[in-house]
Amino acid sequence: MVRQMVKSNWLRGLALLVFALLAMSACSQNENVIRIGVFNSLTGGTATFGISSTNGIKMAVEEWNARGGILGKQIQLIVEDDQSKPEEAAMVVTKLINQNRVAAILGEVASSRTLAAAPIAQRAGIPLITPASTNPKVTKVGSYIFRVCYTDSFQGAVCARFAVERLGLKRLAILTDVKNDYSIGLADYFKRDAQLLGAQIVSEESYSEGDTDFRAQITSIKGTNPDVIFVPGYYTEAGLIAKQVAEQNMNVRLIGGDGWDSPRTVEIGGTAVEGAFFCNHYSAEDTSRMVRTFVANHVKKYGYVPDAMAPLSYDAAELLFTAIQKAGSIDGSKIRDAISQTRDFPGVCGNITIDAERNARKAAIMLQIDQGKLKVYDVIQP
């Protein structure tokens, strides 16, 4: 009796396995299209970024397909979810390359997932463009790995140049999030470039992501009498820091990085973030024709104003499709060569030139918070 029961369950397990294997082979393939793979975090910790990025890519594909596709073939997008996990990213990229036989890959917002996937694409000779991974190591993986955003080092340098050259301020303080690699990277390059430009770093303080009280650090910074406090963290802490700086009646300018790009900055900071600056990839309020068209189309299709991930990913897709068109082939090495020859490509987030390290050389935008809205204050060329 017992033996019978156990056996039937063992068979049930086996049936499940067979079903699974059958389902695996069921995905069909069409040869008359150009297949492009996308891997993004559609579920998990950073799902909002992944979904936004995928939406941007889908917009580009629809526009190209409406115009007749690439090389006379329609683009077929194969989107895979990596659940915000690095090992899952490696799994789906292997699948995209070997099962779906994609010509090229777009993906991952987070550097950790791009880094897990990049060696696989490099080994297979399939070009991979990441829309928003800013870690400098990403494109060092190899000759097939590109990015269309700027790196942490460039962003830090831009903020330093803005403070010293554009605003003419020389006494700088830095308040870094020590738990966050992005924040440390930005702070390091800000410091280096500011000192090269002859400014003085009067104070360096730190906090950890999740802190809510920054008064001790701010009091200590106040004692050194700075003109600028550079806060290269994320929006929640940035808003709180701005509030607590305002409490102390200091006459300083606040400057931040693209981690401030969220409506939450103004929600949390309120009037305290008025007049603060931060560096970003694009502004939805930008009046240039490309941005206006993109934002209008995005609102029409998805019903909301996009964050920076959507236009960056849109640019990555546009750049890739243009390169395939120019290469005249879906051969990996030809597409790679075409991508690396990209010069002054007009993107929503500024003109992109791919440099010898396969990074994008492009302008950064400095936004100022003005009556709760974001205003383009300056465009800084590389």
Partner: protein, 331 residues
């Protein structure tokens, strides 16, 4: 002829190794990188599930820090390969003997050091925490896993928050299943020994076991250390396969995933763990066609499986070949 004990195990092990070697040469090039990768993750997950089963299923200690040991083993072995073994191999060159045995030998050394590092951590953590029982132990191991992860996150020479890149790619199908087979063999033989009986006694009733003269803490710590060792080796295999490590891979969600393998397969059943780890690795891949419904279907299947078989697939039993034979005779 009936073979017994050591001879039988030895022969079976040799047969297993031979089959693996043949499969590695024939099957792997045939099925391509994607299915190979699925197989490799199955092997890694089997190692993790069986080693946790020793702690959770046989010794009855509810540990949810397995991903922490995995992380420690992975990072230790990766650091040793990256800073020491990799450059050493490059210096020795690829000619002759070294070309043939260099990589496997280096991987063996790296995996062993990863396993040892994880088991040392298991010992240090196990001695104080295994005095706790049930929920308290679960929370203590959860905390331990997070501590390991956060320490690694702040250690710069293994990449810190940026992740550890450029780890040599030495893991192969054959290696993964050698380790999985070794793990199964060790746990199976341990359970059949006096020590295993003592572990099961501890699980069934700790006070009664202590009254019978079993040093309960010693046995619990032993199971914990051995389980941690294999988790560390599994971490090393993953590191040398993906060539990249990031602490996000080793959050407590990963630990929970391994607990699910054990519970679903049936605590105290090695074959149960093997089947559950295999099915639950294949299932999310097979369900990719369902796109955004994938994880919903996957989770729903977990719920259904638990409702229909709350004791797990195998319910504490092991698969026996004899189950298959009487079926034909009866009909």
């Amino acid at each position: 002829m009936k073979l017994h004990g050591v001879t039988r195990t030895l022969l079976l092990s040799l047969l297993y190794i031979a089959v693996l070697a043949v499969l590695g040469q024939t099957l792997i090039p045939f099925i391509g990188p994607y299915y190979t990768q699925v197989l490799i993750f199955i092997g890694i997950n089997i190692t993790l599930a069986v080693s946790l089963n020793l702690i959770l299923g046989f010794a009855g200690q509810f540990s949810i820090g397995h991903a922490g040991f995995m992380a420690l083993g992975g990072y230790t072995s990766a650091a040793i390969s990256f800073y020491f073994l990799g450059p050493l191999l490059a210096q020795l060159g690829t000619g002759g003997m070294i070309g043939a045995v260099g990589e496997p030998a280096a991987l063996a050394v790296a995996l062993l050091s990863g396993g040892i590092a994880a088991s040392v951590a298991g010992l240090l953590v196990g001695i104080p925490t295994l005095r706790l029982r049930g929920d308290y132990l679960a929370i203590a191991t959860l905390g331990m896993g997070e501590i390991i992860r956060v320490v690694i996150l702040n250690t710069d020479f293994v990449g810190g928050a940026r992740g550890f890149t450029d780890i040599p790619r030495w893991t192969t199908f054959t290696w993964v299943f050698l380790v999985a087979g070794l793990c199964v063999l060790v746990v199976r033989n341990l359970i059949a020994s006096t020590m295993g009986r003592a572990l099961i006694a501890v699980r069934e009733d700790e006070d009664a076991a202590a009254a019978m003269g079993i040093n309960t803490t010693r046995y619990k710590v032993f199971a914990f250390v051995l389980g941690a060792f294999f988790a560390g080796v599994a971490g090393g295999l993953q590191a040398h396969y993906l060539q990249y490590l990031h602490t996000n891979s080793f959050t407590f969600l990963r630990s929970i995933e391994i607990v699910v393998f054990v519970i679903l397969g049936g605590g105290g059943s090695i074959t149960g763990s093997v089947i559950a780890a295999s099915v639950l690795t294949i299932l999310p891949e097979a369900l990719r066609c369902a796109e955004s419904w994938r994880m919903v279907i996957y989770s729903a299947l977990l719920v259904v499986m638990m409702l229909t078989r709350p004791q797990g697939l195998m319910g504490g039993r092991e698969f026996q070949w004899s189950w298959l034979i009487p079926t034909w005779r009866k009909k």
